[in-house]
C-alpha cells in the first residue's frame, strides 16, 4: 500500500469508528428498517474506500457518508416499491383485463389495494423528514432501543455491538465463541422482535429514564467484562470487546453528560482496563492484583479515569451510585504505588456503602475481604463463614479462595491451603486453577 492509500485507508477506518453509529441511527429513524439502514451504511463505507483516494477525504466525512447511505436507501426503497407495484399490477391486470389502469406513469408505484399506505410509502415519507422531537441525537434513540428490556440480554449485547458499534457479525460471533450463523440469526431475530413487539425508536421519557439508562449501562459493562475476563481465546479478541465497550461508554457519556452513573461506568472501565497488560504474564498466566507489575499499568487510562472521578467530585449531588463506588474502589488500587500501600480502610468503607445499595452476595464477599485486608482478618473471615453458611455462593470458587487468603493472613497456613484446594475444585478455567495451585505452593513454602 502506498503512503497515500494508507492515509485514505486510515481516514475510512477513523470515519467508521466515529460515524458508523450516526449514519445507521439516522437511517433507522428515516426508514424504520434496521437491515436496510445497516446495509446502506456498509455500502456507503465501501464507496468511501473506492472514492476518497481519488476525490480526497470530504471535509465532513459523516455528512458525506450519511448522504450516500441515504441515497442508496432511496434507490433500494424505490426498487422495492416497483417490485411490489409489479406484483400488484399483475394482480390488478388479471382482474380488470386492462383498460382502467392505462394512463398511469410506467414504473410509478400503484397504491396498495386497500388504500392504506404501504410500508414502502411510509419509509419514503420519513426519508428526509426531521425527527419529531427535534434536538434528540438519533444515536441516543439507537442506544436505548438496542438495550430495550423486552429484548433478551444476549440479543441486546449482539445488537448493541452490531448496529451501534458497527462490528461485523463475524467479529461478534468470534468474540462470544458462537458460530457465525448462530450470531447472524440472533441479530435478525432481535430486529424482527423490535418490529413485531412494537419497541419504539426513541429515548424513554423522564419517568422511565433512570431504570432504562441502568439497563444500557449494564449491557455496556457486560460487554466490557466479556472482553476483560474471557478465558480462552486470544488477548486481541478480548481487548477488542473491552475497547468497544469503552468507546460506546464514551459515546453515551457524550450524549448524556449529566448522567453521573454513565460517567462513573466509563471511569470504572478505564481504571480496570489500565491493568489489562499486567493481568497476564509473558507465559500467559493470570497475575493477581497484588502481584502485578504496576509499571505495566496504562498511565493514560488511569489519568483519564481519575480525571472523570475528580470532575464528579466537583458536582456533589445525590448519592453515589454503584458504578461510582466501584470506580472509586478501582481508583484506590490505581493510586497505590505498591500493593501494600493500598488504602484498604477506604476500600472497606466504599464497600460498606456499595453493600447498602446492592445487597448481592458477591458484593458482601468483596466487602468482607476488604475489611480483612484492612487489618480485620478475623472479622472478615467470620463474615465469609456466615456467607458460606447461607449457601448463596455455593459452587463459587472465589468464596473459598477469599477464605483461604484471610486464613493465610491469620497465620493458619494449613487451613488456608485446604480452602484454596476447595477453590481449585470449583475454578472454572485452567488459568485460574494454575493460579490457585501457585498460591497453594507459596503457602506451603511459607509454612
Amino acid at each position: 500500500m502506498t503512503h497515500g492509500a494508507a492515509a485514505h485507508h486510515d481516514a475510512v477506518a477513523r470515519a467508521h469508528r466515529d460515524e458508523w453509529a450516526r449514519v445507521v441511527a439516522t437511517l433507522i429513524r428515516q426508514t424504520g428498517d434496521w437491515t436496510l439502514a445497516e446495509d446502506c451504511a456498509a455500502e456507503a463505507f465501501a464507496r468511501a474506500v473506492e472514492r476518497w483516494p481519488a476525490e480526497g477525504v470530504p471535509r465532513n466525512p459523516g455528512a458525506w457518508l450519511t448522504t450516500v447511505a441515504r441515497n442508496l436507501a432511496i434507490d433500494r426503497l424505490r426498487r422495492r416499491a416497483n417490485e411490489a407495484a409489479k406484483v400488484r399490477e399483475a394482480a390488478a391486470l388479471e382482474e380488470v383485463e386492462g383498460g382502467r389502469n392505462v394512463g398511469r406513469r410506467a414504473g410509478a408505484p400503484l397504491p396498495a389495494p386497500d388504500g392504506e399506505p404501504s410500508e414502502t410509502d411510509t419509509a419514503f415519507d420519513r426519508l428526509g423528514g426531521e425527527s419529531a422531537d427535534g434536538g434528540v441525537d438519533d444515536r441516543l434513540r439507537l442506544v436505548f432501543t438496542c438495550c430495550h428490556p423486552a429484548l433478551a440480554l444476549e440479543a441486546r449485547v449482539a445488537l448493541t455491538l452490531r448496529t451501534l458499534g458497527g462490528l461485523t457479525t463475524a467479529e461478534i460471533a468470534r468474540a462470544f465463541l458462537v458460530p457465525e450463523p448462530t450470531m447472524a440469526q440472533r441479530i435478525v431475530r432481535a430486529k424482527q422482535r423490535i418490529r413485531n413487539a412494537g419497541i419504539p425508536y426513541r429515548v424513554p421519557d423522564a419517568a422511565a429514564l433512570p431504570e432504562r439508562l441502568g439497563g444500557v449501562l449494564a449491557v455496556l459493562y457486560l460487554v466490557f467484562n466479556a472482553g476483560y475476563s474471557a478465558s480462552g481465546g486470544d488477548a486481541e479478541r478480548r481487548g477488542a470487546l473491552a475497547d468497544e465497550a469503552i468507546r460506546l461508554a464514551r459515546l453515551v457519556v457524550r450524549l448524556m453528560p449529566e448522567e453521573r452513573e454513565a460517567a462513573s461506568l466509563l471511569a470504572l472501565m478505564l481504571l480496570q482496563d489500565s491493568r489489562r497488560r499486567a493481568r497476564v504474564d509473558a507465559g500467559g498466566e493470570l497475575v493477581t492484583l497484588a502481584a502485578q507489575d504496576r509499571t505495566r499499568w496504562d498511565a493514560a487510562e488511569i489519568a483519564s479515569g481519575l480525571a472523570i472521578l475528580r470532575s464528579l467530585e466537583r458536582r456533589p449531588r445525590g448519592i453515589r451510585g454503584p458504578y461510582r463506588l466501584q470506580a472509586e474502589i478501582a481508583a484506590c488500587h490505581a493510586a497505590a504505588p505498591t500493593a501494600d500501600d493500598t488504602d484498604f480502610e477506604r476500600i472497606a468503607t466504599l464497600y460498606d456503602e456499595l453493600a447498602a445499595l446492592d445487597p448481592s452476595p458477591v458484593v458482601a464477599l468483596n466487602r468482607a475481604l476488604a475489611h480483612g485486608f484492612a487489618g480485620r482478618a478475623k472479622a472478615g473471615l467470620d463474615e465469609l463463614d456466615r456467607l458460606a453458611a447461607s449457601g448463596a455462593l455455593d459452587r463459587y470458587h472465589l468464596l473459598p479462595a477469599a477464605q483461604g487468603e484471610l486464613l493465610a493472613r491469620l497465620g493458619r497456613a494449613d487451613a488456608a491451603a485446604a480452602r484454596l484446594r476447595d477453590a481449585l475444585e470449583l475454578a472454572p478455567s485452567d488459568a485460574e486453577r494454575r493460579a490457585l495451585r501457585r498460591r497453594i505452593d507459596e503457602l506451603g513454602a511459607a509454612s
Binding site: T35, H148, A150, A184, Q185, V188, Q192, N196, A197, G198, I199, P200, R202, P204, A207, A208
Partner: protein, 131 residues
C-alpha cells in the same frame, strides 16, 4: 399498535388486597383517552368449556383443568403508540402487583388471502430475512 393485555394470576405475586384494587381508575383513565378498546374479567378455569373436532367428530368437555396456578383472569385490548406505552399502562394495572400481565402484540393479516398462499409467502419472507 394493538395489544392484548392478558391479566393472569401468579402464586409468586403479593397477596391480593381488595382495598387496593383500583382497576376502576385504571379503566376510566384509559377510556377517557380512547386507549382501551374493550376488556373483561374472565370466569375461572372451572367454568371453561373445551371444544375440539377430532376425526370429524365434535368433542365438547369442561376444562381444561391444569395443575398450573397461573391462569388467565381477564383481558384488555389496547390501541397505543408503542410497546413502551403499553408497558407503562400495564405497570399501573393493579394485577401487575397482585398477579402478572402479559402483553401480546396483534398480528394483523388479510383473512381473505388463501391460507396456502399466506403460509408460503410468510415462509419465504422468513427465509429471506434469515439469509
Amino acid at each position: 399498535m394493538e395489544y392484548l393485555l392478558i391479566v393472569a394470576t401468579d402464586p409468586d405475586a403479593e397477596p391480593f388486597v381488595p382495598e387496593e384494587d383500583n382497576v376502576g381508575d385504571w379503566v376510566d383513565d384509559l377510556e377517557s383517552r380512547g386507549i382501551r378498546i374493550r376488556g373483561q374479567r374472565l370466569r375461572p378455569p372451572t367454568d371453561a368449556t373445551l371444544v375440539r373436532v377430532r376425526d370429524g367428530e365434535l368433542l365438547v368437555t369442561d376444562g381444561p383443568f391444569t395443575e398450573s396456578k397461573e391462569w388467565m383472569a381477564g383481558y384488555d385490548i389496547l390501541e397505543v403508540e408503542s410497546l413502551d406505552e403499553a408497558i407503562e399502562i400495564a405497570s399501573r394495572h393493579p394485577m401487575a402487583r397482585f398477579g402478572r400481565i402479559e402483553l401480546r402484540p396483534a398480528w394483523p393479516m388479510d383473512v381473505h388471502e388463501p391460507g396456502a398462499e399466506r403460509h408460503a409467502r410468510e415462509r419465504a419472507e422468513e427465509t429471506a430475512a434469515l439469509g
